[in-house]
């Protein structure tokens, strides 16, 4: 340092200052870009994407309106959280590979690839009414939610959602609604009128 000439020292200082300014500019620009990206994504997700995962509204799949009418879903209101959950349950049951793709390895071309291929809506309702029983094969009491979780893992070749996951909850709520429509009570037997 002490050996440097005054001019060289000055130039070095200027270089350092310029470098610092440039570094600051880069940091600020990156920050602004990142913030803009986040805000842009949020705006796109909420307003522009139209993707069901970003929307509070259920996607009306084929047959939903007929189902809604047949099973009297509107007794729970035309819209609202419960009905939206039923609709998502309907979608999950009928198009499992599409709405619960995270938990199933079956795709559009595999078969069976949806709950409805094995269980009718009524069967799910009866299963719900008689759930929470001891399963001798497993050696423990199994809830409806656990049955659903096991289905994802076995028949759908997939992964296990948690008991809180909408992919489980909304099938329960779907079954509950059908059970209400059939006026089932606890432990109802499928052959009982």
């Amino acid at each position: 340092m002490t050996g440097m000439q005054p001019d060289a020292a000055l130039a070095a200082m200027r270089d350092r200052q310029r470098a610092a300014r440039q570094a600051r500019r880069v940091v600020v620009t990156r920050g602004a870009l990142a913030a803009a990206a986040v805000v842009g994504f949020v705006l796109w997700a909420n307003f522009g994407s139209g993707r069901p995962v970003f929307s509070p509204h259920g996607t009306p799949e084929t047959g939903w309106d007929a189902f809604r009418e047949t099973y009297g879903v509107d007794t729970f209101g035309r819209d609202g959280y419960f009905v939206r959950a039923i609709q998502n349950g309907y979608n999950l049951v009928h198009h499992t590979h599409k709405y619960a793709w995270r938990f199933t390895r079956k795709g559009a071309l595999d078969h069976p690839n949806a709950c409805i291929d094995c269980h009718s809506a009524e069967a799910l309702a009866y299963a719900f009414a008689a759930s929470d029983r001891f399963d001798a094969r497993l050696g423990r009491r199994v809830s409806f939610e656990e049955h659903v979780m096991r289905c994802y893992a076995t028949h759908l070749d997939g992964f296990v959602p948690t008991t809180y996951d909408p992919a489980v909850r909304d099938i329960r709520i779907f079954a509950r609604m059908v059970a209400h429509h059939l006026q089932l009570g606890e432990g109802a037997l499928e052959r009982t009128p």
């Binding site: 959280y81 419960f82 929470d132 329960r172 606890e186």
Partner: protein, 365 residues
């Protein structure tokens, strides 16, 4: 030295860590096995549960026919039956509702899944609010309107709840009871404590033949609003007089409950053992809930003798008694409530004894 010792030390350290982890794992396995053993053990029913479950004909078998429904409708309503394991779960659930803290149990911790972990006071039991072991009936055997029936609540679970903002499953609703009404902590959603109560509630729904998604009058509380009174104002002075007259006999002059020989005969409605400020019982200014509970369920055996205005007055008075702060109210509120709960009762007791030395200043504790 410098090279040998570290290696030796390292090995010791590793062994220590491994053995601690292994010990924890062994402990977990032991606890797990203990739970499994408890599940297989026969259940000692409380007297209330023995009576109720016998009345509802709970027995293991391939089919279940409710004697209650049979007697009322003269039709056998055949339902899927219960295995031995299911019967024990239902029995344990009943015991939990009747006697959460195991005050009637030989080994409280084991027989009640260590439920006291989730409760702060020594009074709370589900049965205090969910009377009749969650299935209160009138003398005629009809479910009591607004009696917080567990069965009616089960068939209407999963509805949107504006307090939590979610579609509230039956299991999470139970957690709220532990947090606010019992002023405690929440058990895991898959804990036996929760699952056994669900099993019992489901059994009640079968025994009473309730149908999914139907609204029954015994569900929840039959709220009492100001507009259902003569509109002479909810007045805690009147409420205090009424409390002394109608409630203090059981709940104590300051609402601290009655405990005899370590058994809670009547629960606290104020003080450290009571429900907390965030319980749904306690929206003090605009509550329609506590008055509704009082009108339909209090005093036991004399239900319906209080007018709507009486219930609102008593509810307003009780809401103004000191009680624990809720979880979300922060340390200052908690400190203040603690101060009030510790200081006021003895002070009031002293003054009342001094002012009316003749009268007994208060039964109970």
């Amino acid at each position: 030295m410098k090279r040998l010792l570290p290696g030796w030390k390292k090995a010791v350290r590793l062994a220590l860590v491994v053995s601690v982890l292994f010990g924890l794992y062994a402990l977990t396995l032991a606890r797990h096995d203990e739970r499994a053993r408890i599940r297989e053990q026969p259940v000692t029913l409380t007297p209330g549960c023995a009576d109720k479950l016998a009345r509802y004909g709970l027995e293991a078998g391939p089919r279940y026919i409710s004697p209650y429904v049979l007697a009322r409708t003269e039709q056998a309503n055949t339902r899927q039956g219960y295995s031995d394991e299911d019967v024990r779960a239902i029995q344990r659930g009943c015991n939990i509702i009747d006697d959460l803290q195991g005050q009637l149990a030989a080994d409280p911790a084991r027989e009640r899944w260590n439920a006291t972990r989730f409760v702060r006071g020594t009074h709370s039991s589900c049965d205090h609010c969910h009377q009749g072991i969650g299935d209160k009936q009138t003398a005629a055997g009809v479910p009591q309107t607004g009696s917080l029936s567990l069965a009616a609540s089960w068939v209407m679970a999963d509805m949107y709840d504006q307090f939590t903002g979610i579609l509230l499953p039956y299991e999470l609703r139970q957690m709220q009871c532990y947090i606010n009404s019992s002023n405690g902590y929440k058990p895991n959603v898959a804990d036996d404590l929760i699952r056994d109560v669900t099993a019992y509630s489901r059994f009640l729904a079968a025994a009473l033949d309730l149908r999914f998604g139907n609204r029954y009058a015994e569900q929840g509380i039959d709220e009492v609003t100001a507009s259902q009174t003569a509109k002479r104002g909810d007045d805690y002075v009147r409420g205090a007089a009424l409390f002394k007259e109608r409630c203090a006999r059981c709940h104590g002059p300051q609402g601290l409950g009655t405990v005899v020989d370590g058994k809670v005969l009547f629960p606290a409605v104020a003080g450290p053992n009571a429900f907390n400020l965030q319980s749904r019982n306690n929206f003090s200014f605009v509550s329609t809930i506590l008055p509704g509970f009082i009108c339909r369920n209090m005093p036991p055996g004399e239900e319906g003798t209080l007018s709507n205005q009486d219930c609102r007055d008593i509810g307003f008075y009780v809401s103004n008694l000191p009680r624990p702060a809720g979880d979300k109210q922060g340390p200052l509120a908690a400190l203040w409530q603690q101060l009030m709960m510790r200081v006021m009762p003895p002070l009031i007791h002293t003054v009342e004894t001094w002012q009316r030395p003749g009268e007994p200043a208060g039964s109970g504790t």
